[in-house]
Symmetry: C2
Subunit: 143 residues, 2 copies
DNA sequence: ATACTATCTGGAGTCAGCTCCAAGTCAAGG
DNA sequence: CCTTGACTTGGAGCTGACTCCAGATAGTAT
């Protein structure tokens, strides 16, 4: 009776555990169109097949990197319109890649600054007070 | 009359332009304690001296990288308590560095995924439809 | 059939981080 | 002194992304 008649999908609970995101969030993503409608059982219960899981995977990946929900919605919308939107989707992906690369640069700059401060604080933790900064250092990194 | 009697600070407008953040946001940062109280003129108008600007610089840098306002508030609070909090501040900085490094990793993973998709879409833009993915590819990168 | 748990829906609530507003002050020019 | 425009405050409002809830339904074990 539980043999593979059709592909067995995962329940929302299982998907929630697999991707580390709440059931509420999964329903929310679907509601706002960040992923396409998930496969349902006859009774209307979500059963995430491989394709559904792929979308969840993509959505959590993009959100995890901080891309807006709205952008994923747009991508899904275009995707569902078929091959005619391939160029648009490509452009969207490129735009988001650019955005992420900028974001990464920002983070790298901030990491540099943090590392500089940490180095000073490691000395300070020994001596009990912060060493004064040189003029040049003050020009790039401050308090 | 406008000779250097004391250091001339920048107006909120100038600081706003210099750092590319709104005057409202500058006041907000100060209000919530994300930067220490800014120097004022006799009349109560903000006049950002070098130290004030340094704090703004730090705040915008950290916020730009996505660190929470609350964390900067904590840092400022500790800073204002003096040398006794040096170890705590060091720990805070280290924690935030770790958080940022994770964030950076997430972004790098997402960039990989985006690049993979973009490569497929560039082919698709030529041929008019997406090439099917190999089984192995599907296992890491999907829709 | 009964009990019990998992899932469903629509809609309201929450939180962070700004952003806007009104009513009032300050400062410089005429 | 008067006007004009930048600046002040406290507080309300907004947006994005969830998060929670109540009441209804589905599936499962007894």
């Amino acid at each position: 009776m539980q043999a593979a008649e059709k592909e067995r999908g995962l329940s929302i609970k299982e998907v929630s555990q697999k991707f580390g995101i709440s059931q509420d969030t999964l329903r929310y993503y679907e509601k706002v169109g960040m992923i396409p409608p998930v496969t349902r059982t006859a009774g209307g219960i979500r059963s995430y097949g491989p394709a559904d899981q792929s979308w969840v995977s993509l959505a959590t990946c993009m959100r995890g990197a901080g891309l807006p929900v709205e952008v994923m919605c747009e991508y899904v919308k275009l995707y569902r319109q078929g091959d005619a939107t391939i160029r648009e989707r490509l452009q969207l992906l490129i735009d988001q890649r650019d955005a992420l690369m900028n974001r990464k640069k920002q983070i790298e700059a901030t990491l540099k600054r943090l590392n500089f401060k940490i180095a000073r604080y490691e000395i300070a933790a020994e001596t009990g007070s912060l060493p004064p900064l040189s003029e040049e250092d003050r020009k790039r990194f401050d308090p």
